[in-house]
């Protein structure tokens, strides 16, 4: 595949993310019941199903429009903390995509960096707080470095997936400092973070759909 991606490919990314969320819905909810309020899988599944339905009605003609509609739909349908966090991430991707009709590797890295910045702005999370940040941040850093070194997007996204998965695994021993899990204190250690797990699926979906 050429090293640029168009709206159709990016739409496939969003749809693949929705499919992975559906496939992992019960797992996400189970992870969330250990340290949260047992609704992460159900809430994200409801939101991504609404996104797929909204995008099926009429296909967006630019990446920015695709991400904007995805973000707005998530904000309106997910609730809890993951609605604003994922919603903000996609809205920031929309802003970062600008008027572009296609994105190259550097653009994909740029929009994911914008998504990460949005998550930080909304959730005020830092490294090691046991949140989605801990998987998304290393994925973005890995993607940026690989793209910067001239790696093709497919290869760079493979590196990002491995970084996200390592970041997700690294949340297991962490003690949560954000969200409902933080009330558990030390008892939150020993479980992977549900948000880090779901955002890893976003990176996995990108590698599957854009590579």
């Amino acid at each position: 595949m050429a090293d640029t991606v168009d709206t159709t490919a990016l739409l496939a990314w969003v749809r693949e993310f929705a499919r992975l969320i559906e496939e992992h819905r019960d797992l996400l909810t189970e992870l969330d019941s250990a340290i949260g309020d047992a609704d992460h899988g159900v809430n994200l599944h409801r939101g991504m199903s609404a996104v797929v339905a909204a995008l099926a009605e009429d296909t967006p003609d630019r990446p920015a429009e695709l991400f904007k509609r995805t973000g707005m739909t998530l904000v309106s349908t997910v609730g809890g903390a993951s609605g604003p966090l994922y919603g903000t991430a996609f809205l920031r991707m929309s802003a970062a995509a600008g008027d572009a009709e296609t994105l190259d590797g550097a653009d994909v890295a740029k929009i994911l960096r914008a998504a990460l910045d949005g998550v930080v702005a909304r959730g005020k999370a830092q490294a090691g707080d046991k949140t989605m940040y801990d998987a998304l941040a290393p994925a973005v850093a890995g993607l940026e470095e690989a793209v910067g070194n001239g790696q093709p997007l497919s290869h760079a996204l493979g590196i990002a997936v491995r970084a996200a998965e390592q970041g997700r695994e690294a949340t297991i021993p962490m003690v949560a400092r954000k969200g409902r899990a933080s009330y558990l204190g030390e008892r939150s250690a020993g479980h992977p973070d549900p948000g880090a797990t779901s955002v890893t699926l976003l990176v996995v979906a990108a590698a599957a759909a854009l590579a």
């Binding site: 309020d37 609730g79 609605g83 604003p84 969200g179 009330y183």
Partner: protein, 336 residues
């Protein structure tokens, strides 16, 4: 596992069905069933600061039961124990904007805070309505530090809604109403305990396991874990376990006394709340703290959880006057 016994039609429609009941029982209120917002019938009140709140359902009468003159102008109902979404808060804000700005009263939970923040950003982007948010965080069971999401908003939220509502009804401007709300939060502290877990209808089983003979001290209103589990105690001992950490956190002596609020979690009968209140009365007398006002009953509940919470609010002339001001809502009504 015991089967769930609830007077519902379908776990998926509990919130919508209850809002239809609210609309039928309280024709003086206006219910937007699409957005799940309960409004004062006369909203927006021209020239008055609008007060909105909202949160997950399952804590009734909070928040919709406090909609009416002298308290909230609108309340947004989320799914059970899940924050409402920004669209709801935007609809509520627009619907109560009488030209004097709108106060958002937000309980400190990660989801609630983020959704209200997004709503405020959306309102700022597409209207001239001034919005100030006040976050309640009075639960002393949570260590307030960099290592937690901060203290949870619990009982003091009811008192903020009443007292700030009275300030708005008097015609005070938005900045003053917000200052009063912050003062109530700053001078109030709470702690609760659970004897049994509540059951979320969609889950169909109790949120947490609490063995016979134990109680959870410092419970949150969504069943969040407390400080510790202790053997079940009598009312006198239980009251002391709640009052002592509150008194240790803030000096309640002097001034114009306190408002003592003994709240039921949903399944504990009023007679037990009065037994607890008497113990609180004794403990505060011993500590040299005067009870100037009281509130006893289920006002911020956790579905069918058994247990109670205690909230103390340090009063001054202003807070006393605003507390005593007329209020006319489904769940609090006096002087009106």
């Amino acid at each position: 596992m015991a089967s769930m016994k609830k007077l519902i039609n379908d776990p998926a429609t509990v919130v919508a069905d209850a809002l239809r009941g609210v609309a039928a029982a309280h024709p003086e209120l206006r219910v937007d069933h699409d957005q799940r917002v309960v409004f004062r019938g006369d909203a927006p009140v021209r020239g008055k600061v609008g007060l909105i709140s909202g949160g997950g359902s399952g804590h009734e009468p909070l928040h919709a039961g406090f909609v009416g003159s002298g308290m909230l102008d609108a309340a947004c109902a989320g799914e059970i124990f899940t924050s409402p979404v920004p669209d709801q808060m935007v609809a509520a804000t627009k619907g109560v904007d009488g030209g004097a700005g709108v106060l958002h009263i937000v309980k400190n939970y990660t989801g609630d805070v983020m959704n209200f923040e997004m709503a405020a950003e959306i309102v700022a982007a597409d209207s001239g309505t001034e919005v100030i948010a006040v976050v309640t965080d009075d639960d002393v069971a949570v260590q307030d530090s960099l290592y937690t999401a901060g203290r949870r908003g619990v009982g003091v939220t009811v008192l903020v809604e009443k007292i700030a509502g009275a300030a708005a009804e008097e015609g005070q401007p938005l900045a003053e109403v917000a200052a009063v709300a912050r003062k109530v939060n700053a001078n109030g502290r709470s702690m609760g305990l659970a004897l049994t877990s509540g059951t979320v209808p969609a889950a169909g089983r109790p949120t947490f396991d609490l063995p016979d003979g134990e109680m959870e001290l410092g419970i949150g209103i969504h069943g969040e874990p407390g400080r510790r589990r202790v053997p079940i105690a009598n009312a006198a001992e239980a009251a002391e376990m709640l009052v002592a950490p509150i008194l240790a956190d803030l000096d309640f002596s002097g001034g114009d006394g306190v408002l003592a609020f003994v709240n039921g979690m949903g399944a504990t009968p009023l007679i037990e709340l009065y037994v607890v209140f008497q113990e609180v009365n004794t403990l505060l007398a011993k500590a040299g703290v005067t009870i100037a006002r009281s509130l006893v009953g289920p006002y911020i509940t956790s579905l069918d959880m058994a247990g109670c919470s205690i909230t103390l609010l340090k009063l001054d002339d202003e807070l006393l006057r605003l507390w005593d001001a007329p209020v006319n809502t489904p769940a609090l009504r006096w002087g009106a």
